[in-house]
């Protein structure tokens, strides 16, 4: 247990020291979302219509940008190899690293979400739905994203390949999340969508750590 806590603390401390780098996905998130009113016009009805979709797509893209950090620095200085050779369970260590990553790269996006909901004229029920989908759905981005990052950690042209691999896989999440917010906008229930996202989250929570560990072993032979 203490080994895992140590890994968590280390990752959080390292992330804190690289605050500038962490700002980048956040800035990207805000920038991309800001492009849409500029592109489609400031009419509140239009923005409200496309709002949930825009925020979710931007969240997915920003998370892709931040995912590369997950194993890159550890790979470059050799601590990834050390981690894999140590007696700590690799799936557990992977899960802890994913947690640290979610806390430092994705949680800030969620913290920013009220501002962006304001930019896009989302109504209050819509915002609450958005928040719930973000909280329940973004861990999925980290968990499944980490599998692909684990596979591509040694490659130098990882970036776009990561997007190519992960975007199709994130499509169901996108569909259900935006549908939930859309239902909220029409004052309808959205428990079903949240339930499905929750199910996907639990499924990946259970299996992804093992897939991530396997991916790391494959790429680090």
């Amino acid at each position: 247990m203490t080994a895992l806590m140590a890994i968590l603390k280390r990752d959080l401390a390292l992330a804190y020291r690289q605050r500038a780098e962490l700002m980048q996905p956040m800035l990207f998130f805000v920038l991309v979302i800001s492009l849409f009113p500029l592109a489609v016009g400031p009419e509140p009805k239009t923005l409200q219509l496309i709002g949930p979709g825009v925020i979710w797509v931007a969240a997915i893209l920003s998370s892709l940008l931040g995912l590369e950090r997950l194993f890159r620095d550890d790979f470059q200085d050799g601590s990834l190899e050390q981690l894999m050779l140590s007696s700590t369970s690799l799936p557990a260590a992977a899960l802890v690293k994913v947690l640290a990553h979610w806390l430092t790269s994705i949680l800030p996006l969620i913290v920013l979400s009220p501002l962006l909901a304001l930019f896009l004229h989302l109504s209050e029920p819509m915002y609450w739905a958005l928040l719930k989908t973000l909280l329940l759905g973004t861990p999925l981005l980290s968990l499944i994203g980490a599998i692909a990052v684990g596979l591509t950690v040694g490659l130098n042209r990882g970036g776009v390949l990561l997007a190519l691999l992960l975007l199709p896989v994130f499509i169901p999440l996108l569909i259900f999340a935006t549908s939930a917010v859309g239902s909220a906008s029409m004052q309808l229930q959205y428990h079903a969508q949240l339930a499905i996202i929750g199910a996907m989250f639990l499924f990946s929570l259970a299996l992804a750590p093992f897939a991530i560990a396997y991916a790391l072993r494959v790429s680090q032979t």
Partner: protein, 252 residues
């Protein structure tokens, strides 16, 4: 029970098996596909709703059916390779991928060409076309990941993991896209449901599916051989094989 499969973990045995099967798959496949196409184009009755445009079904449905079967086959090959560490299984997986991508692409083009007369637009975000588009992305992702690695062993395993992540996602994607489509589109479904198809239209369709499957099989056998040759290019059996084919050609 599976002992008879064990020799095929060796590349040389598999190469020769592919060689023996190749003439059957290619000739039979070509014959069946030509027969089915001619039957479907010229002899199947005219549809009273869609007139002659429905004949596109004879290329659209086989390519769509094959796109899904090839992805499943690729995922099964990936699974076998990952679980039992069989190299030839990874080769089979990567040999299947471009074929799957091509038939998926064909299903999209033929779907669009069918959509224009039927819906009035080249592209429609209906459940089927959208799922096929995502399937194409999955195929291309597996291929790109494989090509990104220098070491082909690593490449096979990495692409295998992604193929399996994709196959787990396939039913989720299909379901979510269908659900999304009913939310947004309503009833823009094609009117030709399979059970209500008369036998004169159904038989050429089944035959085309078979023909496409055989032709894909033939192309798979070729590509499998290419993978094996690339991997084993310096081995004596390959050199002997090349010399033998040279002698055969000279004899001609």
């Amino acid at each position: 029970m599976w002992k008879w499969l064990h020799p095929y973990a060796k590349t040389e045995r598999t190469y020769h098996l592919c060689q023996r099967l190749l003439p059957w798959f290619s000739l039979l496949g070509l014959a069946v596909i030509i027969l089915a196409t001619v039957w479907g184009l010229a002899f199947a009755p005219t549809d009273y709703q869609q007139s002659e445009a429905y004949r596109i079904i004879y290329v659209h449905v086989p390519s769509a059916v094959l796109s899904k079967s090839l992805y499943s086959a690729m995922a099964i090959a990936a699974f076998i390779g990952l679980v039992w560490q069989v190299k030839t299984s990874f080769m089979a997986m990567i040999a299947l991928a471009p074929i799957g991508a091509t038939v998926t692409f064909v299903s999209l083009i033929t779907g669009a060409a069918w959509g224009k007369p039927m819906w009035g637009t080249w592209w429609e975000w209906d459940a089927r076309l959208t799922s096929q588009l995502i399937l194409l992305f999955l195929f291309l992702g597996v291929i790109s990941l494989y090509k990104a690695f220098e070491d082909k062993q690593q490449a096979g395993k990495a692409a295998g993991v992604m193929a399996i992540v994709g196959v787990i996602n396939l039913p989720i994607i299909h379901y979510s896209v269908q659900w999304w489509n009913t939310l947004h589109q309503g009833a823009t479904l094609m009117k030709l449901g399979k059970p209500s198809m008369p036998p004169e239209m159904l038989w050429p369709l089944l035959l085309s599916i078979l023909g496409w499957a055989l032709v894909s099989g033939a192309i798979f056998l070729l590509r499998m051989q290419n993978e094996i040759l690339q991997r084993d290019i310096r081995r004596p059996w390959v050199v002997a094989l090349a010399n033998k084919s040279l002698a055969l050609n000279k004899g001609k």
